[in-house]
Symmetry: C2
């Protein structure tokens, strides 16, 4: 097959995809559009102090770019002061480069009913990212496999409260490191039609990810539109490494979105204070985001902040802490002032099991996420052990909480129907509202119905087996996987993806590096 | 002993109490003074709609006052339209009566270092109130006893994150209903020196409670100052019963604080919508609060709202729901606009066990409590089963969360030390902040240290027994009770309290009504 024929084939598939897009309908909300105002802990004056400090860090201390002469050259040409691997930035340079970055953009899904709007007043929930381990109540904790990976993709697809298929929902440790990205990207495209994330573990794996997206969406469409979003972590403090920089450049050149996220445990990788950490977060994010615009002006980019604290007793990471919420909230404001979409938060916990600690820490973080105006929320479901483990039970417990966040984010309905004055007149003192006409009219839409909570009496609950939330969640995810039916995928596209993977996998030996 | 001699004795004791007040020092913060702005989901225009609806409810539907001719006469004289037990209110009357109510007031504790400021930007945490059952992991669920009651008083005293001893921390079901109030009030005074709540289950029990406070604080002091706060529930929808009205009048006449709280499960006791429920909450609270001012202008009063939703599947109460958070937040704004301190929230759950559901629901509610500007938070620790059960493990898990709320409510420190620019210059790219001079200087004050969370590695956690949060909490409350030492209590006051209780108990037969 010639390259021309291949292209024609792709165009044909892309056209069919386009047609199918129109015919499919989504279940669930494609993303949250917030109806509540943003909760802002940082004043404008406070933000100005942090911004001035970030400028000073960039000018006086600078950022290191390791093992990547090309990036150093890009910065030199942009007017930065490059000495060895250290780059210092004239005041205002990184921020001025962000002028070309979109304040919001659409990430296209292969089912367009599931396209997400990233930025503005919107919030997108994506699942857990990165854990090498998985756990469930039946089999306990073990290394993740590609089967686990597919299961989490299926659970995210089946949950109406997750908007995104995510990326490394767990590491498929049973596959070679240098080839597992093919199977991960394929799983997202095959078992879900929600938007997804590409590989960032090496520039060539990023290229492979983009190539697979082109097989599905068409080359021209991918060049003109965002169909993938990727997680680029700074190596905090104040360092970007070649792996992340390489992936960033691949995706930015392909017009695909990068989330540039400092990954910071305050006290270890940043100062032990919120204000000090925020200045560092801003410095790192500004520079990483600005780099995407130097690579391709107008490429979609997201200001990210993965920030938590450490235990001052043990140095271990802590999650769901009040300092974490303050950091998240402050960073959100800094991102808004930079004119960029913001990624942060999730259902974080350092607990090893889906217990009370896990739920408390996750609830604190996810509520801070929703109230602070986060636009893209990774790790929204499934996280345990500080991100080392994807939990099946935690996944569905978190997804249930995300459903509640949808209701909260809508805010208070003040329509005449919601004011319910007819009900108040009908029922009157001492009456009961369940039978009121207004209640009956609004019965179906009234009040979020949890899939996990048990609201029954103690006696009923005991008679039902006295299960705790994790045990009920264990039943729930099995039901969801049993009921899973895959979204339609054009067989020609499926074949092309498999052919591409087979060919590429044969071109180099397996390796676990 | 003559009444004169008794009074002299009381004055002497009061003077000694005063002296001891100065010498004692408190551990923990006496209450929270918020450094973060209030999160407001309801716009001013939205609040005006709700207020107009509440006015219409009061004018067109009215409120019933059952079995209490005195209260009906009070309203008649105030200018309301009284027909049978139904009272309708000219537009603006209840609100105008609130002009004499203080916007904030001090509740005095017998240790003045533990006085709390109720209103303004302050938040006071009080423990669980009302459950007939108690539970712990060792003995399971059973009826509460006076020993359990004392234990919860001791735990609240020992926790630096609870500001208040509360009221019915559990029902001491082993004591006769008509006499247990003596032992409850005595336990608060004996085993704690934090502020407390009096009995509301009958007017004469309210009188007894006030009398015991007079023995501790002195008669004149009590008449001039708030030393007790009491929970007065409306019998929603739109009814107040004689028991609650009787207690309200006793406390208001004694210049002691009433929390007038509609107790509402939306969908059953109010409309199935947030906006409709808020109008009813406002109508009920305005009228109950206004009544205190008719009884004694200037008496301290708190606008309360205990509002949650019901399950539309089963009709069972649900807690930690997004609708509950919206209701809490909206009611807080209405209370602020009425110029009154606000009571709501707590660590609510309908779970039967301190599991993930319990923690999620409690975290959602307590965070809404802190962010919405609640001034007095009952049920802040220990609640299970929709308030039917006080849990030892949940108590210490919740108290740990309250500690985190103290940190969150402080907000972001923008002092020069917190900006940490010296650390950022000292450490630089790729460095580690733990050893930095700034980190060492701020080590002790940095980051909340949880008493419950396990942040260790999976391996360490497993080696430590693989306990979940509830199991660790089980160890924690036993340690706290073992380490408990009672606050000093003047033996003369102790004797007077015991003599009073002994005499009063002998004056009427035991009864379980």
């Amino acid at each position: 097959m010639s390259e021309q024929a291949t292209r024609a084939g792709r165009r044909g598939r892309a056209a069919r995809t386009e047609k199918r897009r129109e015919s499919q309908t989504a279940t669930g909300t494609p993303y949250i559009s917030r109806g509540i105002p943003i909760t802002d802990f940082l004043s404008d004056e406070g933000a100005e102090i942090i911004e001035a400090n970030a400028d000073r860090i960039l000018e006086e201390v600078g950022i290191e770019f390791h093992d990547d002469p090309e990036t150093l050259e890009i910065w030199r040409q942009a007017g930065a002061d490059v000495t060895g691997t250290r780059v210092r930035f004239p005041k205002g340079l990184p921020r001025s480069l962000l002028a070309t970055a979109p304040a919001r953009f659409t990430q296209h899904a292969r089912n367009p009913a599931r396209n997400v709007e990233i930025g503005g007043n919107n919030l997108v929930f994506a699942p857990v990212y990165g854990p090498p381990f998985v756990t469930d109540l039946d089999e306990g904790r073990r290394y993740g496999t590609i089967e686990d990976f597919r299961n989490f993709v299926k659970l995210a697809y089946a949950s109406p409260h997750l908007h995104h298929s995510g990326g490394t929902v767990c590491e498929p440790v049973d596959l070679p490191v240098n080839k597992r990205h093919f199977d991960m990207v394929y799983s997202h495209l095959k078992y879900s039609d929600k938007p997804f994330m590409g590989s960032v573990t090496a520039p060539e794996r990023a290229e492979d990810s983009v190539e697979m997206a082109r097989l599905v969406f068409g080359r021209e469409f991918v060049d003109a539109n965002c169909v993938m979003i990727q997680l680029i972590n700074a190596n905090s403090p104040l360092v970007f490494d070649a792996t992340m920089l390489g992936a960033l450049k691949v995706y930015a050149r392909a017009n695909q979105a990068c989330i540039v996220s400092p990954f910071i445990l305050a006290g270890a990788m940043s100062p032990v204070t919120v204000a000090g950490t925020l200045a560092q977060v801003l410095a790192e994010a500004l520079v990483g985001c600005a780099l995407t615009q130097l690579v391709r002006p107008g490429a979609p980019v997201v200001f990210g902040a993965f920030v938590s604290s450490i235990s001052m007793q043990s140095g271990a990471p802590t999650f769901g802490s009040p300092e974490g919420s303050l950091l998240l909230n402050g960073a959100a404001k800094l991102a808004r002032r930079a004119g960029l979409p913001f990624r942060s938060g999730g259902s974080f916990t350092s607990s090893k099991t889906p217990d009370g600690q896990s739920a408390q820490e996750s609830a604190q973080t996810i509520l801070a996420t929703v109230l602070s105006g986060v636009n893209f929320c990774l790790h929204a479901a499934g996280w345990l052990e500080g991100g080392l483990c994807s939990s099946y039970e935690k996944f569905v417990m978190d997804a249930d909480q995300l459903g509640m966040m949808h209701v909260l984010a809508k805010g208070i309905d003040l329509s005449e129907e919601a004011q319910a004055m007819d009900a108040l007149h009908e029922v009157g003192p001492g009456g009961h509202f369940l039978g009121a006409a207004h209640t009956q009219r609004n019965f179906e839409s009234a009040f979020y119905r949890s899939a996990i909570a048990d609201n029954n009496s103690y006696e009923q609950w005991s008679a039902d087996g006295g299960l705790d939330a994790a045990q009920r969640a264990n039943q729930k995810w099995k039901q969801m996987l049993a009921a899973y039916t895959p979204p339609e995928l054009d067989p020609a596209i499926d074949e092309a993806l498999i052919a591409f993977m087979t060919r590429r996998k044969s071109e180099f030996p397996d390796s676990n590096v």
